[in-house]
Structures are given as C-alpha cells and as structure tokens.
C-alpha cells in the first residue's frame, strides 16, 4: 500500500466553544483532492491542521510521516496558500515570492531564480516587478500560487485558490493546478463553489459542520447514493413513444416531457440506462443525446448536505 501523504486520525479542533473539525479520520495518498463544503464547514481548519498552522485539540495529523506543527522540516515540504492574500502589498511580486522562497529554506543566491521560475510558471513574468498593491485579484492569486510553488514542495494545500478570479484566469489557474498534479505534486484544493472543484478533480472530500460527510470519487459517491432520485435526459425524434415505453418500470419515479426530450427520474440509474437503450433499439428511435443533468457535484453536494442525504450517508 502506498504510504499516506497525509494521515488524519480522529482529529478534532475546537476554538473555545466553537467546533472547527470533529473526529475526522482521513488519509490522502496523492493526486488532486477537492475539499468541498459550505463556508464555515471546517475546510480551512483542516487545511491549517495539515499545514502545521494549527495543533489539533484531539487526535493526530501526520504529513509525510511527521507532525507539521512541530517539525519544521515537514513544513519545508509543504506549500500552503491561504485564502487571504493581503500581506506585504508594497513589495513587488518578485520580491514577495523571493522572500517567501527564502523563508522556505531556499538559499539567498537561489531564491530569486526559484521565484522567477515559479512566477513564470504562473504566467506572471510581465507584471512581477510591479507592487502587489496594484495587482488584480487574479494576479494576486497567481502570485500566491507562485509563492506556494517556489520552494518545490511535495504537498500543495490551496485554500480557495479560485475565489474572486475572473473566468479566463480561473481556467488558466485550473490548468496550472492540473499540470502540477501531473508533474507529481499532491494537491489539496478547497472551494465552496462546486463547479470549480469539478473542473479540477473527481476525487473529493465533502465536509459539513466539521465532519467528513463523504469522500472518494464523485461518481462513486453518486452511485452509492442509490436511493437518491437520479435524473436522465434523453433527446430523440419520438420522445412520447420512449416515455410510454419506460414509464411502467418500477424504478422510474417520474417521466416529464420537454419539446424534443424526456426527463426520467429513477431510483436505479443502471437499470434505467439499460432499459432506455433497449427501448431505443426496439423502436428504432433516432437517439440524439443522453445526459445526466444532476450527475455533478452540485447535485451530490446538495443531497449530502440535506438532512435526507446525511441520514443515508450514515446508514
């Protein structure tokens, strides 16, 4: 079995009477992991625990075998980008990233080159000599990511890296993060925006009220919630005929019509797909498209964080 990059064992964190995370156990071996949850769910707390910025009130957090809060050599192998970005705005992007690389242990003579390389990776060459206070939100996020990368950490912890970024910059940052994962980095990304995570990874951890609600591949999670009605949209030339063919099945909850399509709500997506395919072949229908509009993070997240979903998940 691959050694865990991050191992969280029965970890809880309280801030006085406020619960940050509660009795979380979790292991991460690699790849891009999306940490998903609404604001205040405990995502940032969990990330800070992994980055060594917080000590757990109970339980243990191990990163690459060491305690990140105690062991400075472990923190050297971590790149953490916090959610906020207003620190030393009077410095230029290059100065800031150089200083932070230097603080991460890169010697003075090489810190500039390491910062330059990281900023170039994030597409910041043209503006890196301008003061950070003049940067747009997207440029700040890129600079922050460059600072996270400059000392070549093995584990990147990115807290809401896409917040406030315009769509073009968002796509670019997503591409960079995925490229870094392909280059061998382990990356934990948090967001409360579902489609951002969906664009980055299929491996998610859903956190709600300080607890891990679900973890794993989004499609596996979706499949495991087999009692949750699953919606399938089928576009074909004779939708009424197809609706009549499928409506009698016991797993079908509802069939609704659109102009050139039907929407089927089912409790058993696998059977439904099989029966739809059989009906199309048998009746020689002209099938134009078949999709699952709720097979995305939004649907999963909404279901999991509802009372019904939580009850199912804990069964």
């Amino acid at each position: 079995m691959t050694a865990a990059m991050v191992s969280v064992e029965r970890c809880s964190k309280w801030y006085g009477h406020v619960l940050g995370v509660s009795d979380i156990s979790w292991q991460l071996t690699g790849g891009v992991i999306g940490l998903l949850g609404p604001n205040g769910a405990g995502k940032s707390t969990l990330m800070k625990l992994m980055a060594g910025l917080l000590r757990p009130s109970r339980g243990t957090v191990r990163v690459m075998g060491g305690d990140p809060a105690e062991d400075a050599s472990v923190r050297r192998r971590i790149g953490y980008a916090p959610e906020h970005e207003s620190t030393y705005d009077e410095l230029t992007g290059l100065e800031l990233v150089t200083t932070l690389a230097h603080l991460a242990g890169v010697p003075r003579a090489q810190a500039g080159a390491a910062a330059l390389s990281a900023l170039a990776t994030m597409g910041m060459q043209a503006t890196m000599n301008r003061a950070v206070k003049g940067y747009s939100k997207g440029m700040r996020q890129r600079t922050k990511l460059a600072a996270t990368l400059a000392h070549d950490p093995e584990l990147l912890i990115l807290d809401e890296p896409l917040t406030g970024v315009d769509p073009i910059a968002r796509n670019e940052i997503i591409a960079k993060i995925r490229a870094l994962a392909a280059a061998g980095k382990t990356i934990v990304v948090s967001s409360h925006v579902l489609y951002e995570i969906e664009a980055l990874t299929q491996d998610i951890v859903v956190i709600h009220r300080g607890q891990v609600l679900a973890e794993g591949n989004i499609f596996e999670i979706r499949r495991l919630i087999d009692h949750h009605p699953h919606r399938i949209r089928v576009e074909c030339d004779r939708p009424r005929e197809l609706a009549a063919a499928i409506a009698g099945s016991d797993h079908v909850l509802r069939v609704s019509m659109e102009r050139k399509a039907i929407l089927v709500d089912t409790r058993d997506p696998d059977r439904c797909y099989d029966e739809l395919a059989a009906a199309v072949i048998e009746r020689k229908l002209d099938l134009r498209a078949m999709s699952s509009p709720d097979n995305n993070l939004g649907a999963v997240f909404e279901y999991l964080t509802s009372g019904q979903g939580r009850a199912r998940a804990s069964e």
């Binding site: 979790w26 991460l28 809060a69 242990g105 990776t121």
Partner: protein, 311 residues
C-alpha cells in the same frame, strides 16, 4: 468511498485522480536548503527592506535624525565656550560642548518614537491582522526565528536613528579636542554612546512590538503604545518625582535619559528627575526582558493557533 463519516475511526485512502494532463515545464528547485536556524536573518532583512519601502515609515525619521545630527553638530561647533545650564557636574554648570551630546539623545528619541508610531507598534499586529503569520509559519519558520528576526530588524532600524547620529556627533566632538590628551580622554565617549544607543534601540524596538503582539489589531496597538509612552510614562515620572525618585525608572524614557547623563557624569539641575545608572540599567533590562517574553509568548501561541479562514 462514502463510508468514511466522522464516526468511522478507520481512515480510508483517497485514490489518486487520473487525467490526461501534460507537464507544462515547471522548473523545480532542487538545490540545497537553508537550516531553519538561519531563517531569522531572512526575517530581519525582510523587516528592513519592507520598512524602507515607503518614505513615511523609516526614511522620514532617518531624515529627521540626520537634521538633528547636523543641527546639534552646528551648535556644538559654534558654541564651544557657552555654558549649559540644564546639566551640572559636581554642582557646577558644564560647557555646552560637553553637555549637549548626552542631552541630544532626547531629540533622537523623538525620531525613534516616530518610527515606533509608523512601524514598531503596528508591526506584529499587522502580520496577525493580514494573515502574514500564515505565510511565515506554514514554512519552516519557528516562533523564535520570527521573534528574533523581527526584533533584530527593528533594533537595526532604531539604531540608524539612535546610534548613528550620536556616534557621529561624538566623533565630531572628539575631533574638536584641543590636544591629544583631551582627545584620548574623550575616546571612551564612543563606547558610552554605543551603550546608550544600543540599549535605547532595544527599548524602542521591543516595547512597542510587545504591545503590538498582545493586541493584534493595528489601530489598537498604535493607540496603546502612544497612550503608554505619552501618558502612562508621564504619570510614572510624576509619581516618582513627588514620592520616591527611583520610581521614575518605571518610565523607560526617563531611565534612558538618566543612563546617558549618568555615563557622562552629569546630573540634571532638578535632581529628582534622574535615577542612578544602576537603577536605569535595571529598569531598561526589565522592560526589554518583559517585552521580549511577552512577544515570544504571544507569537508562539499565535503560530499554531490562528482562528478561522482569514485570521
């Protein structure tokens, strides 16, 4: 896998995500790494360069200290035979050329107070408020590296105001000696000016930073420091003046003044406004030690205790 809820003690490994992605040529840093024990120097340099960035933080007071140096130097040069009534030696007034040098610390300290208002008193609070603590402590920086680096940086910045000018004036004064004997007699002044300047730099660096660390909010820290230095120390001095003179040493500014006059063998005309060199040194030592202790305590707590997402 959905089974891993918070009630499940056994952790479930998360699988590595698959995708068709290409390495865009990220150039990894593969060189040597500094020992964490040297990171305080990085923080010190960063403190100095960041403080130097704007004209009003440090440069303004550096220019002020330079003007004080030039003005006092001119007065020393032009009024070599004038007497200086506020200070006495063995009951008799001393020459301006001998008394003005320790007295001039008062003016340099105004500049240092200015620097505490623009940088020192908000220094740690700013890092806490903006979240820079996270940038430091998610890297291999320890609380002691941070405290030592910040303290060293601020002490150096303060020394540029409290050591450089007085040292140059002392050298100038020695240069005005009439003969070699007088010059040799005055040479120890260089050591004295360094002692007073360095201790004053430590006081003006450590005290406001400790208050800054305690409050953690820039404007509150600024207000507390200004109130302490302008009002509270004045109250301490008044209590000492009217009751028991050593209590004046509760005011670190008065302790520094007393130290300067004491090292030059001078006494203030109004004796009740001065404490002995020993009491002054104890006061300065206690103030600095307390300030560094508080600073370290707060920083080490904050280093692994930031609250919430944007703390």
């Amino acid at each position: 896998m959905i089974e891993a809820t918070s009630e499940t003690p056994a952790a479930t490994p998360v699988r590595i995500g698959k995708g068709v992605i290409h390495d865009l040529g990220y150039a990894r840093y593969a060189g040597e790494r500094r020992s964490p024990s040297t990171l305080w120097r990085v923080i010190m340099r960063h403190q100095l360069s960041q403080t130097w960035k704007t004209w009003w933080r440090w440069k303004l007071w550096a220019v002020g200290a330079a003007m004080v140096t030039v003005t006092v130097g001119l007065v020393i040069y032009l009024s070599q035979n004038e007497m200086f009534e506020p200070l006495r030696r063995n009951g008799a007034a001393v020459k301006l050329i001998d008394g003005l040098l320790p007295y001039s610390f008062t003016f340099f300290r105004w500049m240092a107070f200015g620097l505490t208002m623009t940088v020192g008193s908000t220094n740690i609070a700013r890092d806490r408020e903006t979240g820079a603590f996270g940038f430091y402590f998610c890297r291999p920086v320890r609380a002691r590296d941070y405290v030592f680096g910040k303290l060293a940086g601020m002490t150096l910045a303060m020394a540029s105001l409290l050591v450089v000018g007085p040292f140059l004036l002392t050298a100038f004064r020695i240069g005005l000696a009439h003969d070699t004997d007088e010059m040799l007699r005055l040479l120890p002044w260089l050591g004295r000016v360094l002692v007073v300047g360095v201790l004053a730099s430590l006081v003006y660096a450590a005290l406001p930073m400790a208050m800054s660390a305690v409050l953690g909010r820039r404007w509150l820290a600024l207000g507390l420091w200004a109130g302490y230095w302008v009002v509270a120390t004045g109250i301490f001095a008044a209590i000492g003046f009217f009751t028991w003179t050593p209590l004046i040493a509760l005011d670190p500014g008065a302790a520094l003044g007393s130290l300067a006059y004491g090292l030059w063998g001078l006494e203030v005309s109004e004796k009740a406004a001065q404490v002995s060199v020993t009491v002054a040194l104890v006061s300065i030592g206690v103030h600095v030690a307390l300030a560094i202790g508080i600073l370290y305590w707060r920083v080490s707590r904050e280093a692994v205790g930031a609250v919430g997402a944007s703390a």
